[in-house]
């Protein structure tokens, strides 16, 4: 019995790869296994190779595996592109129709199953996905009823007849493969899971759900990969809570509308990826200058420009922190797990109202789109904190006087009031202004206002600005990462342990204001610091150098070819870096 296994299905885009994967993993999820999915897809609608990989485990996992156990192939291209990933003794289940072959002699087992033919006999080749998944499911020897239940849910709205045909397809696929294999494969039998159905979702779902629970009621946004799911989720759910989503004419409209709505008292957010974020820069500056709360999600993807829109990358870090002309207060939060996506979405709204500034929630494509098991989400942690927003009745204003919306205060945060309130009238402007919001060029006021706004960042308190796993007092390596990389790094660390290389691990969750004080001792304690990131210039490492110093012992492991890291890549690079003398590191 094994404790984990990796399964992949591949074919042409539009061929049903995704729905097959969905049914397969839903069934596994219901059985109580932990799952971690990865989608390989291109920026086109139909055609082009796509594949979905799922790692199945009896324990929580947060990374894809180096290798693969089972490959389900709809075409020879899928085999050609993926067979190298299969471990020794791995299995290919392929459509007999294209007479599948393994390109090189190898120790793989190939089961040629007539997916299309069986499907055709059932009425339409559309059923071939179910034949295929039935076959691969059977090899695992898992109970079929859960699987059929998932099939029913997927196709239920198409009527019972369709469901039955699909279930039939599953059965026939299973039977056929079993007749070849002689039964479920003994070396593919998973240990029993804890049996509890878990949450299974993508990061974008978690963010959207968190936003909703965090009081977000309005989302103006413009579609873009890999952010669109957030608006697509919220438009389904918000009407029940009186809110809505507007698909705007562009991202500039989206962010400005979100600013307008927040100004007027509603928690509103927008979400986009690189190109959209680039267009929002001016308005983010406006929010910073006018101290208007607003939450912006950036789901990082391969850049620059249109770049690799469906690929993994973490290359917007500096742009998010520094990409505004002039200087504003801004908070940049980077959740590193699916659960954090949920809690951080809530926290982002709280922070944006507490510190009255834009908050950017940044993810990467793998975190946003990779479907995975999530721990239960704790409703009790969904607390809303609106900071200094004044809601009760306000004292009447004296004639010709205005509400001190920008009144100076110890922490730099001023009382805030929303339009509609008597006694709260004030002016808001992106021009430098005085305490009631009137434009002012007075030098002294200017300096005080700059100090007030930027000073707010000194007070920012975020739950767990860094995630620390630091068993060692003076580890050989401190590995630093962000967003989706932590799980992969941990797998690599397990192997480093075996090599006798000690390592601590920090995942940075608060990118700005940088948690220098929190992180500095760990940097100081480590013999070397290795920053693992999906970009070409080492942006996270640069943040460390800029804020913490110690440039001389900070090295980078970078990957920017569009694919996520595999554990063995990080492991071998870290081993190499460990061998190098410090002075050769940089």
């Amino acid at each position: 019995m094994i404790s984990q296994l990796s399964w992949k299905i591949g074919g042409q885009q539009g061929e049903g790869v995704e729905s097959t994967d969905r049914i397969f993993s839903t069934a596994l999820n219901r059985l109580g296994y932990y799952l971690y999915g990865y989608r390989h897809f291109s920026s086109r609608i139909k055609g082009g190779h796509t594949n979905n990989k799922i790692r199945i485990s009896t324990k929580p996992i947060r990374a894809i595996s180096d290798d693969l156990d089972i490959l389900v192939a709809f075409d020879q291209e899928t085999i050609d592109l993926n067979y190298r990933e299969l471990r020794k003794g791995g299995v290919i289940v392929a459509d007999a129709k294209f007479s599948p072959t393994v390109p090189e002699p190898s120790e793989l087992r190939l089961f040629s199953v007539p997916f299309t033919q069986i499907a055709d006999e059932l009425g339409t080749s559309l059923y071939k996905n179910m034949v295929a998944s039935g076959a691969s499911w059977a090899l695992l020897g898992l109970p079929i009823d859960v699987f059929n239940k998932a099939v029913e849910e997927e196709y239920g709205r198409k009527g019972q007849a369709v469901v039955q045909k699909n279930i039939e397809a599953v059965r026939l696929g299973a039977e056929f493969v079993i007749s070849l294999a002689g039964g479920p494969l003994p070396d593919f039998q998973l240990e029993p899971s804890d049996g509890k159905a878990k949450l299974f979702m993508i990061g974008n779902d978690a963010i959207a759900l968190g936003a909703l629970a965090g009081g977000c009621r309005f989302m103006p946004a413009y579609p873009i990969t890999p952010a669109s799911e957030i608006m697509e989720y919220l438009i389904k759910k918000l009407p029940k809570y009186g809110g809505t989503v507007i698909q705007t004419e562009d991202e500039i409209a989206a962010i400005n509308m979100a600013i307008g709505a927040n100004y007027a008292g509603v928690r509103a957010m927008t979400a986009s990826a690189g190109p959209g974020l680039s267009l929002m820069v001016e308005a983010i500056g406006l929010a910073g200058m006018t101290e208007t709360p607003v939450v912006i999600v950036d789901t990082q993807r391969g850049g620059p420009s249109t770049g690799l829109p469906t690929k993994q990358e973490q290359s917007d870090i500096f742009a998010l922190i520094y990409g505004t002309h002039g200087e504003i207060p801004k908070i940049v939060l980077a959740p590193s797990t699916i659960e954090e996506c949920f809690y951080d979405a809530i926290e982002a709204f709280n922070l944006s109202e507490q510190y009255q500034c834009p908050v950017i929630l940044v993810t990467d494509l793998q975190l946003s789109l990779g479907k995975q098991t999530a721990e239960e989400l704790d409703f009790k942690r969904t607390k809303i904190n609106r900071g200094k927003l004044q809601t009760g009745e306000l004292p009447t204003l004296e004639e010709n006087s205005l509400f001190k919306r920008y009144g100076f205060s110890e922490d730099g945060v001023s009382q805030r009031v929303i339009p509609g309130e008597k006694g709260g009238i004030h002016h808001v402007t992106g021009v430098e202004h005085d305490e009631v919001g009137r434009p002012s060029e007075n030098a002294l006021n200017r300096q005080k206002m700059m100090d007030k706004r930027l000073g707010k960042l000194n007070h920012v308190k975020v739950t767990n600005p860094i995630v620390v796993d630091a068993l060692h007092k003076a580890p050989d390596l401190l590995i630093v990462d962000m967003n989706s990389l932590g799980g992969t790094v941990d797998e690599a660390r397990g192997r480093l342990d075996i090599d006798g290389i000690t390592s601590n691990h920090i995942t940075v969750r608060l990118l700005h204001p940088f948690p220098t004080a929190e992180i500095a001792p760990y940097i100081a304690a480590a013999k070397k610091v290795v920053v693992v990131e999906n970009n070409a210039t080492g942006q996270l490492a640069n943040l460390l150098k800029l804020n913490v110093g110690h440039s001389d012992k900070i090295a980078n492991v970078l990957k920017y070819d569009g694919n996520p890291f595999l554990p063995h890549e990080i492991h071998s690079k870290c081993k190499e870096l460990h061998k190098q003398p410090v002075k050769e590191l940089v």
Binding site: G243, E249, V266, E282, H427, R438
Partner: protein, 288 residues
Amino acid sequence: MATVKDFRNNVKPNWCPGCGDFSVQAAIQRACASVGLEPEEVAVISGIGCSGRISGYINAYGYHGVHGRSLPIAQGVKMANRELTVIAAGGDGDGFAIGMGHTVHAIRRNMDITYIVMDNQIYGLTKGQTSPRSSVGFKTKSTPDGSVETALSPLEVAISSGATFVAQSFSSNINQMTAIIEAAIRHKGFSFVNIFSPCVTFNKINTYEWFKEHIVDVSEFGDYDNTSRIQAMTKIMETEGMLTGIIYVNDSKPSYESLVPGFKEEALAKQSLEISAEDFNKLVADFR
């Protein structure tokens, strides 16, 4: 009930003496009072330009945003609190150059917002460059040999974008401006109001006198039916846009807010941010 005085504050506008924007400001203040609004019920959202300063000169909630984006901000405000009277305002550069896309889409979306453009056919604040409204041959700092681009016709564009209320006025005619703005505020949907508001410092062509000579009021066309899109468009084309009055109204189309599924009559800003544990559990169950 608030009077026009209540909509005044003690901020002295920084406009040049004689600037058309003074009267626009006065007309807005008068119109708000005659509609029976209280200052705190009004939000004036403006763009950047000389005209954009207007939000600071009216005693009401005011948001002076970035250049060309008054409408997106205004729409955000309206969605957050539909009980507010939202007035967006700005210059011809703000609304028809950098903000052109938003103008078309805000019109199309038809939220209950009044949008007032102070159209002086030039860029005032940046000291006299051409605007999309400048006529062919108009000499400015950026077109020293005269502009060669066709002037934009805001009224045509508004109607073709699906506007439900289109009006035009002239800064010298404060009574008409006031009446139009009042009607615009009362209109349930997006109201587009273009106002010829001369820039006395940089535009030496389109002066008060020039407008007086060139404009004609719709009331002068005996049989004009301002509920006919085709007639409105034809008249605008015939007069090359030099007409004033309420040029087109469609009262039958509901405003955006009233069409949005689930959108309550009560301001969203006043609704609870919390969801129940029961709801939360249901939402979470989708992912099992």
